[in-house]
Amino acid sequence: MSQFASFPVLLPLFSGILLLLLPQRSVALQRAVSLLLTVILLGMSVSAFQLVLNGDYHVILLGDWSAPFGIVMVLDSLSALMLVVTATLAVAALWYAIASNTDQQGKYFHVLFQLQLFGLNGAFMTGDLFNLFVFFEVLLLASYGLLLHGGGRLRTRAGLHYVVLNLIGSTLFLFAVGTLYGMLGTLNIADMAIAVQAVDAEDRGIVSAAALMLLLVFGIKAAIFPVYLWLPGAYTYTTAPVAALFAIMTKVGLYAMIRVHGTLFSEDAGMLAFIHHDWLLALGLLTLLLGAFGVLAARIFRQQVAYLVLASVATLMVAIGLTNETALSAGLYYLIHSTLIGAALFLLADVIRLARGHHADTFTKATPLAQPVLVGSVFMLLAVAVAGMPPLSGFFGKLMLLHAALAHHWYTAIATIILTSGLIMIVALVRTGSLFFYSVQSQPDKPAPALNKPAFAAIIGLLLVSPAMVLLAQPLTTLTTTIATQTGNHQAYINAVMRQPEKAAVMP
């Protein structure tokens, strides 16, 4: 039964290889197989989630080597939640890619798409720091291909920056992993957490330096303050479905912070406990402010959405930095919301870009859209959701986050920055909306192209998640609280992976 837990990782790899072997010329076959397998992956992720809802850990020992020696995959409720969010996003992005014909702009779109999912799901399930590196590389290599899909001057330039920055990140990752291995003698996350508790006083400096280097690496993936500059370029100039799928990429960095730093430097780590939290909180607040300014300063709508995603990542970083389970629970609620709404905005930006002819999505007067009421309403609802206004889910996420921050001694700064950045985003989005839907040329040069209805359905689907999250707020919050509690219970994680008897937990 435990083996079933590994299927969400293995299925996308199998799908990728299968799609590579199928004839590339039969477009319909490629699309049908890719979409079918992604829907199956969604079903599998949901059933994996049900499997761990009761607080179980499913530990898969590859080759049945016992824990610190072999490779382990761990499925717990946090990783299962990430699997479900990823698969949901993947279905919507793939549907849009097929409906808008984006997948035919270059070769091997579906293969790369599935391999990207393989890397993402692997990163969410690995219990080993070196395998986290390997899965990061798998998802990055697939993302390089997807980012450059379709080609073009600006896309190539943004892609070059993205690739070089991530390669530097990979090198730093290896330096940090090597140092930690040299100091702790193991790379299994659970085993490392035990070893950290026994670090000598003289080695503490090296271990914390390596830990902060690792934080920087995850920060590059998650796009935090000094190293976020790749994000606006890469997300702005890639194709819409890829940008939508990449909405989960930044969350991989955040997940890695929760998993690795949260487990290694928990309250049990003695002098090394919580070395990363103040950094996360301060850099998160700074990133949030800069992201909001970016939203205001953006010159095209896709860039504005990229900065909105950056701001949402920063909000999540604040949630992780707050070091309590209520904040983490609020953060997980906000994570589901921000990933899916951010993706919907990227897709909407593409629809608007295509409808405005040569004006594309620049903030200039252009011909009116073919269906301004429908597109405008969807824009307004998404803007309300992403800026965190009631009644949609962004508001509840931020409300819970601010509530969880009440006891923190930086509360004034946190509340001020979160609320101010929300206001800035509202101002910027109001300007965008009024320009796109009201301030249009009275005499159009030529009729606007008709709306691509099947593609637009993907946006509506993602948008519907937001009211659903409000209506189901009570059960969903209970769920995220359960997940946050399980994530906070590091001893149970360590025991599950190391197969220690339960009573060892209470021994001093």
Binding site: F130, V134, E137, L141, Y144, L148, G151, G152, R153, T156, R157, G159, L160, H161, V163, V164, L167, I168, S170, T171, L174, F175, V177, G178, T179, Y181, G182, L187
Partner: protein, 126 residues
């Protein structure tokens, strides 16, 4: 021997960082390659430096060296190799699409405009 390895890693890393900060894509690729070499040697040294000891079980052996860093380095080398190959292709693609090998891809037409303006300037003020 420790200082030799340490100095080697330091020199490779600093050269790598220097080259990565250059403005043209080819030195950046070389810099990343050097950084990858440095990190590989670094990982190798993380199992502590030992000479003449086997990593796998051997009846005549008195001591063993840590086999894990060797396995890690092997993986890291393969990944770095693939990434470098990809980066070189991407650098060539950007060279042909952007018309020059600057990392920020200063556009060809801008360069040409710049060049023609300089020529015009020189024409006015001989």
């Amino acid at each position: 021997m420790e200082w030799l390895i340490a100095a080697m890693i330091a020199v490779m890393t600093s050269s790598g960082v220097f080259l990565v900060l250059r403005a043209r894509t080819f030195p950046v690729v070389l810099g990343l390659t050097l950084l990858a070499y440095a990190v590989n040697v670094f990982l190798f040294a993380m199992g502590r430096l030992q000479i003449g000891t086997p990593p796998v079980i051997d009846k005549s052996a008195l001591a063993y060296t840590d086999p894990l860093p060797q396995a890690l380095v092997l993986t890291a080398i393969v990944i770095a190799f693939g990434m470098t190959a990809f980066l070189i292709v991407l650098a060539l693609k950007s060279r042909s699409e952007l018309g020059n090998d600057h990392v920020d891809g200063v556009h060809k037409s801008v360069d040409e405009r710049e060049a023609s303006r300089q020529q015009a300037d020189m024409g006015e003020h001989p």
